[in-house]
Amino acid sequence: MNKFIEKLTGMTDLTDQVIATDILIAAKSEVRNYALAITETASPAVRETLTKQLDEAIDFHEQMTNYMIDNGYYYPNDTKKQLELNLKTADTALNLANN
């Protein structure tokens, strides 16, 4: 039972990290998707909509990046620390899948 709770509380922390990372990656893809779509745009109305939405997507990506940095989920200026974190996350995921 103790072990179970340990695993569960350990995971609550992880859940936030996993979800935040997922949203950041989605926000990143969105920015690129918009840019790609804009290069195929022919009508001014569509270009305007997409440009405006792209602007918002960039702003949201910024907020998400800052959130990740503030919470120690993302170290863009410290590749060593980022690698450690990535390896730890990978191990946790592997353990979760194997148990």
Binding site: E30, A37, S43, F60, Q63
Partner: protein, 62 residues
């Protein structure tokens, strides 16, 4: 407001729409799993943005 859309243009819009729908679904479902209030707020903001964007994109397509 049916725009006169190019083929490639229309397909790009549809692709963005399906990606956004996925993001919106995930944001709505996963909000319940999150413990941090700031993250929850960001997810709500994200969901609101996707909803608005989807409506705008839809208006170009139908």
């Amino acid at each position: 407001m049916q725009d006169n859309l190019g083929v490639h243009e229309s397909l790009e819009l549809q692709e963005i729409m399906s990606f956004k729908s996925l993001c919106l679904t995930k944001a709505s479902v996963m909000k319940a799993l999150v413990t941090d209030e700031t993250l929850k707020g960001l997810m709500e903001q994200d969901a609101m943005m996707h909803t608005r964007h989807l409506e705008e994109l839809k208006s170009h397509l139908n």
